[in-house]
């Protein structure tokens, strides 16, 4: 039994046990109330729920991005074999971007408007790899080309406001996966984009996950998206996980009434 668990650990890039988050804004309700979940290497795990159910809060808690006034507790949080417990800002900055990356809902808002795209990609690379500016530039261009940017050199010189939402999101993906993290957290990465661009971004996330054997925690409220790319699914409601399993199980044999209702709503 013990042996089996350590074998499992090798495959798990994220393991959360009993995560509680309480916002320091005076509300009595727990934003996240005892969530446990795991993400496996090379697999896409979807976290589904309606807006306000606490799914983004889970992601921010994992990334250590919640505010100081918010109360965050867990019995275990492990990212790529790194136990997270009372770690310093420096250690966090080693883990963030290196072991775990995140892409956000609004790509236009995620890039600093005052710096070129190239500057921001290179900055990310040089925070985790000891490479010269030139090498970092080449790495960045290569990664952009990988993400179907034909004219990567031109994109590097652009400012975020000169790019479309879809392009910005691809840049964000490039920044997120450059250090080849074991885990990528994607927080509604397609919600703010046009429908035509959505499919493209999803395809790229899927490919990157398979190519680099990267675990993805895919947060969404869109069941259609889940059906396309997810391997495992967690359903979240009012700060709790109410049902989990692989895609076939959830879609074909849902147990909870809430899950059934969710499924019915898209049919």
């Amino acid at each position: 039994m013990l042996l089996e668990e350590s074998c499992m650990n090798d495959k798990e890039v994220l393991k959360i046990e009993n995560l509680f988050v309480h916002f320091g804004t005076g509300s009595k309700k727990e934003a996240v109330n005892g969530v446990s979940l795991t993400v496996q290497k090379g697999k896409i795990t979807a976290l589904i729920g309606e807006s306000g159910c606490g799914k983004t809060t889970v992601a921010l808690a994992v990334m250590g991005l919640l505010g100081k006034q918010d109360e965050v507790k867990w019995s275990k949080l492990e990212i790529c074999q790194n136990m997270i417990q009372n770690i310093s800002f420096r250690k966090w900055q080693f883990i963030r971007g290196n072991k775990v990356s995140m892409i956000f809902q609004d790509p236009l808002d995620s890039l600093d408007p005052l710096f070129t795209v190239g500057n921001q990609i290179i900055e990310g690379i040089r925070s985790h790899q000891k490479v010269s500016k030139k090498q970092a530039y080449n790495l960045a261009v290569k990664q952009l080309k990988n993400l179907q940017f034909e004219d990567a050199e031109r994109i590097m010189k652009c400012y975020p406001f000169e790019l479309s939402g879809g392009m910005c999101q691809r840049v964000m993906i490039a920044i997120a996966i450059l250090a080849r993290p074991g885990l990528l957290i994607a927080d509604e990465p397609t919600t703010a984009l046009d429908v035509t661009v959505q499919a493209e971004i999803l395809k790229q996330i899927y490919q990157m996950s398979r190519n680099y054997n990267m675990g993805v925690l895919f947060i969404t409220h869109d069941l259609g998206v889940v059906a396309e790319i997810a391997d495992n699914v967690y359903i979240m409601h009012n700060g709790k996980i109410i049902e989990d399993g692989n895609v076939e199980k959830i879609f074909n044999h849902p147990v909870q009434n809430y899950t059934k209702a969710l499924l019915e709503s898209i049919l």
Binding site: W92, I95, D109, S110, P113, F115, G124
Partner: protein
């Protein structure tokens, strides 16, 4: 870039044109007949005929638009006429007094920046801390106290009681105390602005995303944070600087500094119209130049501006 600057300069022309019309019309609004004032300088007690002679001599008999054109031509050559009081060229006098005002205003700006930026940053990073409360109290208080009163109190405490400075003012007074008085009222507003601006930037998505990238603390706050937060401060500093230059009269008259503000104030009391015209025109040009400088700096920092 050059195209942007050129465009901005072209946009300034109508502003200066309007200011020049207002300035010119000051003389015609002015109570009393300008020809009489001028004639009184040439003749001891000018009679009607002599006044008319002067009127023709200075072109004051021509229709107003013609007078305006003549006046503008002279202004372009740097000739604002001579002061009624001592008959010296206005431009020369202004050039003599102006550096003192610039020194004073620059000193005040430096004091405002040195106080408001650190206090603003700390209150933004640690809201509801003691530091934040002190900053908030100070900014509220400084917005409610007239600066001339602060100046007088400082004169009383430091001059009359502690004898650090001379109550009568004068040449070797130093500008620290006057500059501090000038800065006092603006510090509060600037602390507030700095705090608001940094708080806003800290809550932006790109700050979160940059943190998620795993960049260092210094890079996160100094590169991304400060550069974004500095934009509104820059605009405000420009406005503040023109405000200081134009509002210097009060501080200069309290501390007896011979700057351009006091020069203009004295001209107001003696109704020295050419001096007032020269002062308004010079200040308008300076304000416009400061605004232009701020715009250019802004466009250097923010790439989005040039496109608009």
């Amino acid at each position: 870039m050059f195209q942007f600057i050129f465009k901005r300069i072209v946009q300034l022309i109508p502003i200066l044109f309007i200011v020049s019309i207002i300035t010119f019309s000051l003389s015609s609004f002015s109570a009393g007949d300008a020809a009489r004032v001028l004639a009184e300088r040439e003749y001891i007690r000018p009679n009607t005929k002599e006044i008319e002679l002067v009127r023709v001599k200075y072109g004051l008999d021509k229709p107003l638009p013609v007078q305006y054109c003549n006046w503008l031509k002279k202004v372009f050559k740097g000739d604002f006429g001579n002061s009624y009081k001592n008959n010296k060229p206005v431009l020369g006098e202004m050039i003599y007094y102006f550096p003192n005002t610039v020194k004073l205003s620059l000193g005040a700006i430096i004091i405002v920046i040195c106080i408001s930026i650190p206090v603003g940053i700390i209150s933004a990073l640690k809201p509801n801390s003691i530091f934040d409360y002190v900053g908030r109290f100070f900014s509220f208080f400084s917005a409610s106290v007239p600066s001339f009163w602060v100046g007088l109190i400082l004169l009383y405490v430091l001059g009359a009681k502690l004898k650090f400075i001379s109550v009568l003012g004068g040449r070797n007074q130093g500008i620290l105390i006057p500059a501090f008085t000038m800065a006092f009222g603006m510090c509060g507003a600037n602390i507030r602005l700095m705090k608001a601006s940094i708080t806003e930037v800290l809550n932006k998505g790109y700050m979160q995303a940059a943190k998620a990238k795993g960049i260092s603390c210094i890079r996160l706050y100094c590169k991304h944070g400060l550069k974004n937060a500095i934009l509104p401060i820059l605009t405000k500093t420009g406005i503040m600087f023109s405000g200081f230059l134009c509002g210097a009269s009060i501080i200069e008259s309290i501390f007896s500094i011979s700057g351009i503000g006091k020069y203009a104030l004295d001209a107001v009391i003696t109704k020295d119209v050419p001096v007032i015209q020269g002062y308004v025109m010079l200040m308008a040009v300076i304000v416009v130049v400061i605004n232009l400088a701020v715009d250019i700096l802004y466009s250097l920092i923010d790439p989005r501006i040039k496109v608009q």
